[in-house]
Every structure is written in structure tokens, then in C-alpha cells.
Symmetry: C2
Subunit: 236 residues, 2 copies
DNA sequence: CAGAATCCCATTCGATACTG
DNA sequence: CAGTATCGAATGGGATTCTG
């Protein structure tokens, strides 16, 4: 009886550290770190830089304060992110991925690439600004992109990013003060109209005529850049 | 009141279909498909071919019959796997990944590769035979492997596989009757001793002297093949 | 606004027992 | 062997409240 109780208690303690699977497999260990509901989506939202509690809440429709708090604690304990106090006068607290946390991007991309091939995937749900930017980096045709270079400013629902296309890679960062002038600027209140252009291959003029999406600057370059993106073929 | 109740009920119904995140992001959708506890590990166990209920239970220490049943249902509904009746006289039921299910391997690999870089990863826990084989395919140095070709038979705790190294790739399948004669054979009751050789870089002779691991056949080729594998560098 | 603390119900889990 | 049935316990997560 005693023994059984101790076993149960230690099992409980292990669970608190996130030890569910007794398995040396790296994939199983990954699931102990980021396999809880919401965890990986929080990591995704941090992938383009530090964010505040309320930013995260706003980007993750449906998450509660409690759950977000719990997950941030868990991810911090796992070494995936750090909690950092901004220097005064901002004095806000932000959450930022560790160096190793940032290395999770390929895994996130592979999962997304795989799921996008499901016949059941519905690309018309809402998409956070960060997700949109990451999806571009995931779905770009690297080979074709080598032939192009561009500096692109994005404003998605007020969140601003600067993307630099060069050498077949798309580097993305949050917009900052010293940013160079972009070749063109994409402005849209929500992701969907832009998705219809890059993945739905709807003509840019048509979507712009609806009034939500605007592209200013080198429109011709923009069209050639947008042609670089495509969803993977559906399977089954 | 009425409205609230309906909202709750529809939320419940959605949850039953696995709609947790209201998010077009492919990663979020992937998590709806394979993000439940155990789901991705079940997929991993099926990655090298169809298995039975009891095989899966044996390979996933700690999973209960109920949870395994639930997950198999969910994964079948998601289109990740199929339940198939073997023709008589075997007449057993097996679970097998769909074509699209098999495409999840890169995502599983990226997760494993990432998690293996955590300082907290403990590679001395038990490892299922399938995990061991998949980890080899994940951690091989493709560039260096191009210089070698080999046919290798594995017997890990009674589960037998045939691996073919060629063109920098490691193809792995369960052993079958018409298999060609291997260049060498690796036999071990559990994964650990073999892990110590390929990832711990412990001398093969030393590990074999302990008596658990045996390598028969072209021992020299074996040593050169084993040198192709390495864990990614720890981070932080 | 950022988050901790509490409450509480629904779901989930795992153990055990049972069945064709 | 391949699950199903049942049940108590643990957990999860939403709502609300409180604090700095």
C-alpha cells in the first residue's frame, strides 16, 4: 500500500515536470516539451520576436488567461522561452524564445506543410499576422526565388514587418525605425485577401478592387514575388 | 441562457471533431489532427508498416487500451490511418497509415531533431524498435553516406528490419521472406547498447564484449556505417 | 494592463473487469 | 487477442475576482 502510494505520488510529480511518455525518442521528448494544447502555437507567435502577454492572447483566439499563464510557465521551465523585463520607461514584461526555441521553426514548418496537404484543411479561418508571415517563409519556392531580390513591407492588421527576399530565402523581422525603404508595401486588415492572392492565385487587381488589400510601390515586382508561393498539392 | 447553452453544445460538438483552435495556420491544423496526447507516437509506431492493437500497446509503454482505442478512432477520422482486416487465415486486424499519413515522417523527424538538442534530453530511457530505426534515418549524415552502400539486417528485441544504405539515403522496411542476404546483421534485445555505439561513439568491440549486442558479417563495413550517425549538437 | 488566485464543472485518464 | 464497459481520480480550462 505504502509502496503503491509512493509510486503514485512520484508519478504525479513527474507529470508536473511533463514526463508523460517514458521514451528516449526525440519526438516523444519534443511532445513533452511542446505537446500540450496551445504550447506550439505560443511558440509560433513568438517566432518573429518577443511579445507581451496581451499580444499573445489577442493572437490566439480562444485561449484563456489561466491557460496562457500555465503554458508560459511550462515553456519557460522547458527552456523554450524566457520572460524578460523591458528596461524603463517601457517597463513591460515580454516573452521571448531562447536560442534553442527559435530552432523549432523547421519543425513547425514541416507540421504546417504536412497538414496543408490534408483534404480537410480549411484555409479560410482567421490567421494571425505572425502565422501569415511564417507561412510565406514556409511555402516559398526557394529555387524560383533565387532569381529575385526585394524588400517588402507588410502591415497586417496594424502589425508591421519587413521582409527581405534574397538568395532564395525570405528573411522576416518586425518593422523597426531604421528600416530601409521597401520596394513595395502590402497593407491589409486581415490575412485572408492576401492569402487569396498568393495561394489562391486570384489576380491582384481583382482582390485590390474589393478594397481591403492594397499594394503600393513596385507593383510589377510584387506580382513576380507573389508568384513564388504555392500550397503543397493535396494528398488523397 | 438558451443562447449560452447552444453555444456550449456546439463548442462541445466541435471539440468532438477536434476543432480546438480557430486558426487557418497549417501548424494549428496539424495539432488538431495529431496534437492529442499519444497520437503522434502512434503515427511513429506505424511509420514502418502496419501493426496490430497489441503491438502498439507493447511499443507505447503506459498507454491504456481506452486511450489507444480513442486515438486510433481519431486518427482514422482524420484520414491519417486506416483499419484493415488481414485476409484469412491470419484474419487479424491491423492499423496502417494512409499515403498522406506516411508523409508525416519529415515532421516527426524535425521534432525529434529539435528536441534532441535540448540539454534536458535523456537518451537512456527505453526506445521502441521502430523509434530506433527511425532515429537512424533521421540522424544519418547524408553527405558522408553517399560514399557507402550496404544491406543491413536488424533484430531488435525480436522485431526484424532490413535497411538498405544507398545514395546517401537509408531505406528501412520490416524484414520479409524474399529479403537478400545482408552485408552484416545487428542483433540486440534492447535499443540502448546500439545507441551507445552509434551516438555515444563507444567502441563496438567494447559494447559487444558486454554480451547484449552482436554484429555478425562484415564487421569492418559495419564500423564505417555506424560512423555515419551523430546526434545534433546540444544547444544552450 | 499583466497576471495570480479561486472556484467549479466537464472531460480525460488509467485501472480493472468483462466479452466475443 | 482486440477491444468494450465502468468507475473513481486527476486534470483541464472557463469564468470571475483581485492586485500591483
Amino acid at each position: 500500500m505504502k509502496l503503491q502510494k509512493e509510486t503514485k505520488e512520484s508519478a504525479k510529480a513527474e507529470r508536473a515536470h511533463g514526463v508523460w511518455y517514458d521514451d528516449a525518442c526525440g519526438t516523444a521528448f519534443a511532445l513533452e516539451l511542446i505537446g500540450e494544447r496551445w504550447s506550439l502555437l505560443i511558440v509560433r507567435e513568438l517566432m518573429l520576436g518577443a511579445r507581451r502577454f496581451s499580444d499573445l492572447r489577442a493572437s490566439l483566439p480562444g485561449i484563456s488567461a489561466k491557460v496562457l499563464t500555465d503554458r508560459l510557465e511550462g515553456l519557460e521551465a522547458a527552456g523554450v522561452l524566457l520572460r524578460r523585463k523591458l528596461p524603463p520607461p517601457a517597463a513591460a514584461q515580454v516573452y521571448e524564445l531562447t536560442e534553442w526555441g527559435y530552432l523549432a521553426e523547421p519543425a513547425i514548418q514541416e507540421l504546417g506543410r504536412w497538414a496543408a496537404r490534408s483534404p480537410a484543411h480549411d484555409p479560410r479561418l482567421p490567421l494571425s499576422p505572425v502565422s501569415l508571415m511564417l507561412s510565406l517563409r514556409t511555402m516559398i519556392d526557394h529555387a524560383a526565388a533565387r532569381a529575385l531580390a526585394a524588400t517588402i513591407a507588410f502591415d497586417v492588421g496594424g502589425e508591421r514587418f519587413l521582409a527581405r527576399l534574397a538568395g532564395g530565402e525570405l528573411a522576416i523581422a518586425r518593422a523597426a525605425d531604421g528600416d530601409p525603404a521597401p520596394d513595395f508595401t502590402v497593407t491589409t486588415p486581415v490575412a485572408l485577401p492576401f492569402l487569396r492572392v498568393v495561394y489562391g492565385k486570384q489576380p491582384l487587381g481583382e482582390v485590390m478592387a474589393e478594397g481591403e488589400l492594397t499594394v503600393t510601390g513596385d507593383r510589377d515586382l510584387a506580382e513576380r514575388v507573389f508568384a513564388l508561393f504555392a500550397l503543397p498539392p493535396k494528398c488523397g
